[in-house]
Symmetry: D2
Subunit: 341 residues, 4 copies
């Protein structure tokens, strides 16, 4: 029998933490030893998040600091808090999966431009492994620190990974991506007040978004090419779900369908379809569904990609990374059948 | 190690079947041997329901008739189809859990009034056990045929069960219950076309609804009293979820909170709260959350009850019944932590 | 040609103000001379509320205090602010329509219990006219101060007005009412954050709500009877709309349909239907749709009432009151055809 | 005083007709003399569409054929029905505004490819004026037959009109456009059943859509250039609203903001913003909001355009065309302030 992994979750009340705890509480090899929350310390989990009232986890008390020893920390913290917490944990010999963006970019100077802080730990940045298993599985298995990818980059990179490997993309690409509102987190904002968000949908941060350099860096790491990403994130009136559509110049027809099917044949969480995927078909799962096709009249290649922004786009991918890091079956506790209808 | 149960699902493409298959496909003691569907026979499950594209179940072919032997049949059929199918299965020695209303009422003559058919099998009606475990657990364990309760009756009966046992209800009760649209099934109707249903919410079938006699009969069975139910079902613009509010005359204050907590202390899927429950706190689970209180000024007792209409209100309760019938741990494969946000 | 009325709106950025301005800007006899807003003073309206970017009103600057003289003030302020503002305006000889609850109750002592303040102006309270035209049209025409009714009381009182006049209601009534989220206003709250409110619906303030004494007082004023209201407000995932269902003991069948049709025959904004009304059929209008029926088995009378909580339930009713106070055609600028789909 | 125009609406129960009737019933110079509906003939309008129960129009009987003479016909019919109806009306000397696509394309042969029928009236096709007032106002004023533009082309063409006039677009453009579900009409489909559409959003008809040649033809007519459109329509879980984002190669920075503001300064229904527009800011109106900007890193020009697909995208634009054709003030009866919240 496999050993039990002692897990501590930092920042236990946000949306990524909620999804993470939902999955971890039924993982057969995980023991959630500590729930850390600065804002809700000393309250029981179910008091803060009543959805846990039916689970033993609901009776667990949130803590200012972890009171028990642990093997792995999940950080569901703001970027700035993760930036500071990671080095301390690494120094104490803990393994870390960081769901923030604090260790995703390799170029420290990009942090100033896109995150509004100077990155104080550039050496740790270089050791962090980007937690996209379909691209970096071997590195993740050996990693001490995994930077869990952003939701938009996950959907988008999986949409172009086979193309990058084949050298089919040159020049800039256009990425028009739609996200459910949960991607913006639990923090209240006027736009996301129910009476204002219902029936509305709109591009935002169209001139500058943190996920643009994240995508460009990983594209470079995989393909060796400096490909510019014209990125338009768009929020739609749905809680979860993400659809990323990628456009790229392609002069000649290529059998994209076969290319993608061959590339992803062995991947447990990626499926290539022959029609546009719906995010509802992956709700609550770790799946990514892809549909590539060629528009011959407009000489444009197009790939449409659908994930659950909190599933494959965040917390379930984090658990997939955990499974890889600790030698568990990669699919353990992860879902492939969505909650439908 | 426990044996594997061979299960056949009849009517495999409706909403209750979709939820049932989602739960059964991860049940450790279940082998889904046949998926029967008259409308989609010979197509693969994932062709009809693309959400199963990530699961091995998606490759299974739907059949006109079950091609393999099985131990238990779940019927996710229209009432009329269940009416005819059940006797055949019983005669062949199969155990049956029927999710339709065809075997829920004990009085055959009520079928004419509320279901528009003459019940041809009154003797089987008498043998059917009403599958509400919190009221009839022992009977369910020994049953060959379980009539799985309606969603409104499940939410409502759990809201008044302790009161019925204590004899606290006399005269008529008012039940005002809200349901997500999935309760009306997968069949298309103008009212439920997205552009008409978004932003709308309305009582329907207010003069006559099938669940009224179902509630009245079970109330009588439990309490021995003929209590009339004034029932107002109301559809709200949500996919899932159900909230039933029950009003009853109560002259004196009673400690409803203690009564309910004592009554449900050992139940794995019922939780008594100290504030109104939200259906979102049980989304995708088999939980029922209750909040009883007394309005002293209006001399009215009130209980608010929340379930997932497709979870505890249908398919997960069906699996709970299966677990009881076959001696599995009652909570196996059932969820208590919802998909939130 | 009729004269132009100079109007000042206090509290110009909340939801009732937004709806009020939408209607007033096309009223042929109204000139909006001042928009007062303490929170957004000196900004242009369209900067704060971009939906006014296509209207000349969008260029108007919000003010700390009204800079021009006016004939009528609409108060879209918090209760406490209205409480203080009204006496000053009355003293200056202005007519006032107050959309808050500060002058709706006749018993000053109820304010302590339900509004958490001591009412400092009980004499003005007695002069305020409750702005429900179908009950108090003549008084409204002569009023200096109109207390515009709450949304729940509007829907509920219109549902029972004919019954009260006929003396058909005795004892307590049960009011189960559903409201869109806009009824809770523009202020951010965790419950109403889009990812939490979508797919959720729940009773709230079930033990104590400000609209309970408002309904009980007006019922007494109309019928001379002390009828207790068991009131359960419930929020549903919709922006607008309200459905109130009223239950009352009724031993004998009465032709409720004829009673209601006769009673409301001349009312321009009330229509009696022969089936449950949908709130979407009144979206953006000043209409109230009613459906009364008798449940003979349960010996219960039931009336279902639908309004737009911001239309007849707030701002359009306020304009109806204005039309009455100033001798304009009662229906001027008010809508009877909703925005559908 | 202006004369009254006698109007007949063909196809009176679909969504474009519903919006059209809502606007026409308050137009001061319009008399709706006939409502033609083959599917609901001899029923009263309010029986079929209960939202008209508060309006005198609700009592009007739907007819198989118009029983009274009229000056102008609005066709809210399927393409095939419009195809046949238009020539008959033209021959009888009636003016026609056709909301279908039957007379939008100039090349008859495109109909075979995109509409699956042979166009039997190519000569009438040449006489039809494309009803986009911002591009063809003078022609509309003199037209006998106006082909009212599609919703996607309206949003998209307004987004590029200034660029086309300046010759700033070469090569292909990428159009990624989002639409509320009402754009797909009133006809029931499984995808648009509420329990399936809530929480879902997905590209559709990505390889071939009727609006692609419509856009390409009008672009050619305006600019004289054959610009290919890579078009991805996407449906989002909202009733109304449309956001079109257009991407085009642009090597050098241009002051797009000034260009657009100058171009649209005198237009009553177009407004240029300095941030991405929200479709909710135009709900129920005839407005189009635009935001153009330049992505210097990716050397891409971007314009974001928002309309109400049933307002400026269909029925209100049709009324704008009517106002132009008959010499009424262009803005009569049209809205610029949306229903918010």
């Amino acid at each position: 029998m496999e050993q039990t992994l002692r897990v501590c979750v930092f920042g236990s009340t946000g949306y990524t933490a909620q999804e993470l705890l939902r999955v971890l509480q039924r993982h057969p090899h995980v023991n959630i030893v500590s729930l850390v929350s600065s804002s809700s310390a000393s309250r029981k989990l179910a008091e803060v998040l009543p959805q846990f009232c039916g689970s033993p986890l609901g009776d667990k008390t949130l803590e200012e600091e972890p009171s028990e020893d642990f093997d792995l920390a999940f950080l569901c913290l703001p970027h700035e808090a993760s930036l500071e917490e990671v080095p301390k944990l690494i120094q104490r010999g803990k393994k870390v999966i960081d769901l923030s963006g604090a260790y995703r970019l390799k170029s420290p100077n990009l942090y100033q431009e896109f995150y509004n802080f100077t990155h104080a730990h550039p050496e740790i940045l270089q050791k962090a492994v980007y937690g996209l298993p379909e691209a970096f599985r071997d590195e993740i298995k050996k990693a001490d620190l995994v930077a869990n990818p952003g939701c938009y980059p996950t959907a988008t990179l999986l949409a172009i990974l086979p193309l990058l490997k084949e050298g089919l993309i040159e020049g800039r690409i256009v990425v028009h991506a739609l996200s459910g509102v949960s991607g913006a987190g639990r923090k209240l904002r006027q736009h996301f007040h129910y009476p204002e968000m219902e029936g509305d949908f709109f591009p935002y941060s169209v001139e500058k978004h943190r996920h643009t350099p994240e995508m460009e860096e990983v594209i470079y790491e995989i393909s060796g090419k400096s490909i510019k990403v014209r990125f338009t994130p768009t929020v739609v009136p749905s809680v979860r779900g993400m659809v990323s559509t990628v456009y790229f110049d392609l002069k000649e027809d290529t059998d994209l369908q076969s290319l993608f099917e061959d590339f992803y044949r062995e991947e447990p969480f990626v499926k290539v379809l022959s029609a546009p995927p719906h995010p509802k078909w992956v709700l609550g799962t770790n799946m990514c569904l892809l549909y590539p096709f060629y528009d011959a009249k407009a000489e444009t290649g197009v790939v449409i990609s659908a994930i659950d922004n909190l599933g494959k786009g965040a917390s379930q991918q984090a658990v997939q990374n955990m499974n890889l890091m600790f030698g568990f079956e990669e699919t353990t506790a992860l879902e492939r059948v969505p909650l439908i209808p």
